[in-house]
Symmetry: D2
Subunit: 319 residues, 4 copies
């Protein structure tokens, strides 16, 4: 049985829930939110849909005890209104979301949860790191959607230039799910051709494409006030790779031994969560950007003293 | 190719769009909204998801010309804020939504659209009727989700009592997608047993169950501020029955020759939209309720003079 | 994680496997067949498809130890060539398939399997009974597809007369998955109307319709040499109801306390397998046919002495 | 509406049909086979499944007139028994399948079919070429599954070595869907790393891997007597790219201006069929192999005089 839980049923959490239900992916689904009326409303809306769906999902709300045998836990809480629209700064959420994680993590730990936790909260890398430490779950078991979404946006942006399916574009966005991220163009191929070979012939401005991908979330946010469909699709796809032990290559926010932080990088996703991280031969420039982005995450993470002064669970080696 | 269009990308329209994209149902999808930034944001959010989906849907926005060869058109505009929460009165929306339909219908007509239009706007029955008249589309081609959703809620409510799958509950909610609707209990079976045979043994309060189903939308609305998942699921399911010419039995808001109004009743949905309506042997009490509910729709519809005084397209016989 | 196993990868078993893989239903799948080359070939063919599917399923072969934590086990072995085409007699398979079950059951028992077993082997009712006894699994845990397929055929046959979706036809075929089965017409509705009310107006010959449904398998068999798609679809749907604990109403071959045999009848399918059987108010004629069909199963079952003289596991009450 | 037709309902054609029906991809499906009883049996078996599926597909048989407005036509006829098992030689089928195409093509032409035709018959490249000429359909409209399947097998074989998802392996098998095919290792990446960089560290024998991929079909064939699931999955995926105008990069048997023959190579698949072919910078060795494989196809194709001496439709430029 595939048992899922979602903590936080705002736009992202609710859309994840709908995806799991309408595609018949989840057999059981636990929705948890401090706003009980909201959790109940989402439960009802999803249950109202069940008579019209071929599959069935048992849906329960607000019971942390259910996490004991939950396989996949999505952490999606967060105050969208805390976002600093002007600056495009996902860090503006950290103070607020950190408090949420401080409230959630002990309950997750106490529940006996021992599945895989996937974080979509922003700032994604730091929150994922914080949640992993606070719960004492292994670094394999906890990861963030990170640049999995940014990479999808890069694929879309490049695909538009070449008028093809985004799936024809391979390659990765690395680093922070935020401003310091970068597209490692040395890894990007268009229909099997290195994009660096196409710059001249197609008059490509890679910096402009990178910027468009990086700001893709803001483009959505400015029009609808939040983002939901793409991030939910990404989160669900990662969870399916865990259930199937697919060992699928995906850029996610995973713990880096090199940088001692969670950061967006290609990883292999399987039944244990992050089975391994993949080291590609980046260019010197890309390597510097990667280091810089990791530093940005670490610096901001350290600025939150309380995040570090509370007793830490012993760090565990990546499985 | 399955070509869809959605006019109005609020919560309902956007969720329909997401369902069509994430399940690979639509090959092409046109999103239309007077709020261009919103339409563009939904387009972007859905396109961002495409690299993570196995299927692909071409998504365009705000071009009525695309309706000329569109197969299915969802009408989902509406101002959720106009709802009168206190009274639970879907009619409160009519003034507002009528204006929307007045703006939309001529454009739909001018586009040359000749597919099937499915309305989810409230008050559903009256708006569907108005839209059908204003566009000159046939009564077969235009129908509303009507009591398809209310019936799903009835199935859920009854299924909870009997601890079974909502799909085990057959039968129909008739009438207005609103307060005057009623569950025709004579049509309802639980696992193949007429529910009327189970009233005593299970101490059922059918009136209470009916009320719970009828107010299901408000229960959702009060917690999340709108409803989206169940109504979108219903709308999509109806559209699939049209594409496949499934001739699937569904209670929808269809034109009634008897009452000369659109009203919720079982109908056969196929490639032409409403292929026929199904006449069941209701009890005298149910028949009276049906008449009453139809009267309620007609009365309110007539109250809107401008809806009637504008030149009407010649009425066409049900195909 | 959804873990499935299939014993017997002939046409039915292989089609079940393909359905589970191509729809992303199974996370892990064990194929078992005495013909190792066949099991290996099906594994390879399914694995070759994986690069083209969005989902992933881990596929292993011929290891009974894997059954220890398997959730759903399909029993699909059987020698299609043993069928007596001339008589349309599914019992002709019993001698052969009984030997197969005699070989399989101890291995299943020894594996520690404790999930739900769904039998598609013919004669379905007797083999299901035999397998349940021989493995010592509970009567809830073991059931057969039985008349779930025959009911689907009845729905199709009736739907063709009324030119509508087979899903518009409710009601059940009862009894043996074989010649003594019957359609309980008192349970059948067409678009919500009792079919018995439509006999005159539509000049229906219910006996002819029943015969057409009963012989549906032979119609397929005579053209392609076996049946596969419908039976696989039925088997997979039942398994999904178990995983989701859907408590879905389905006619299956379930143990009847009344008749002390497995026999096709409506039941509620949930996480324990058969959660309960549903007793409908059949007509006197239908009740007699049901008794007769159960007697047919029992009589033939008893004819196989060795099936009864071997030590039996203690019978367990239906959960 | 998505309208499909399949000519030839042997194992491949029937499995394609089942995939289209069980996943709800096709709205209408035409099955054509000279063995009417077989076509009828497959139709019945698929129709028997419909009451258990959420979607519906209208299924008809043996009417070439239906091709006039068919969107996708699969050509899957072929005599599996003509295969020369000992030699692993797909060409052994040509004499037989050519006759089939000679019989089919005029009927397809006469039907007014103007959609996209996808050939799975072997020898795939030559038969595809023959069918394109004989029908007068454009070279864009007609293509073969070709090395789309061989590439999937290569991905599987390499993925097993690296214990990861086959979808993590990018790159292409080029050339004949037959013995002269080759894996263009310069195009292959494992989790984003060029496989040529991993040969030493992982002690890879690329020739052995290539051979395993090339003979993947025979491995399946030797165990089950035919191949079905992977080829059907590939064929359906290509058709979905056409419906959605996905412009998806896929290695298929497409017409090559360079070689003046159909041959396996990466192409962009969209609404017109083959929208363009993709030219990658192969190594000198790979280029030689590609030329050689194309020559093999041409040589064998020319050997069939009657294939060339019949009046040809005027060749059309690739759209």
């Amino acid at each position: 049985m595939r048992k899922y839980a979602i903590i936080g049923v705002g736009h992202v959490g609710a859309t994840i829930a709908y995806t799991l239900v309408c595609k018949g992916i989840a057999d059981e689904l636990i929705l948890i939110d401090t706003n009980t009326a909201k959790a109940r409303a989402e439960q009802l809306d999803l249950q109202d849909a069940q008579a019209r769906l071929d599959s069935r999902t048992i849906i329960k709300i607000n019971d942390y005890h259910e996490l004991a045998d939950t396989d996949i836990l999505f952490i999606t809480s967060g105050n969208i209104h805390a976002l600093d629209h002007a600056s495009g700064n996902r860090w503006a959420e950290f103070d607020y979301t950190k408090e949420i994680v401080q409230a959630i993590a002990p309950k997750v730990k106490a529940s006996g949860f021992n599945g895989v936790a996937i974080d979509t909260m922003n700032p994604c890398d730091a929150i994922t790191h914080y949640f992993q430490r606070a719960t004492g779950l292994s670094r394999a078991q906890v990861f963030g959607t990170g640049t999995f979404l940014d990479t999808a946006r890069m694929q879309k942006v490049v695909a538009e230039v070449f008028d093809c399916d985004p799936k024809n574009i391979s390659g990765y966005v690395y680093g922070e799910h935020g401003e310091s991220q970068f597209t490692a163009w040395s890894t990007v191929q268009v229909n099997g051709v290195p994009i660096t070979d196409l710059v001249d012939s197609h008059h490509l401005d890679l910096d402009a494409l990178e910027a468009e991908a990086r700001h893709g979330g803001w483009a959505v946010h400015s029009g609808k006030g939040y983002t939901s469909f793409a991030i939910a699709t990404c989160a669900v796809k990662l969870s399916e790779a865990v259930f199937a032990n697919a060992r699928l290559a995906c850029p996610v926010s995973a713990y880096s031994e090199t940088f001692d932080t969670y950061v967006g990088q290609p990883a292999i996703i399987g039944k244990n969560g992050v089975e391994s991280v993949t080291t590609l031969a980046l260019t010197a420039d890309e390597t510097a950007k990667f280091q810089n982005s990791a530093n940005t995450i670490i610096e901001k993470f350290h600025a939150f003293d309380d995040a570090l002064t509370q007793p830490q669970a012993p760090l565990q080696k990546l499985a």
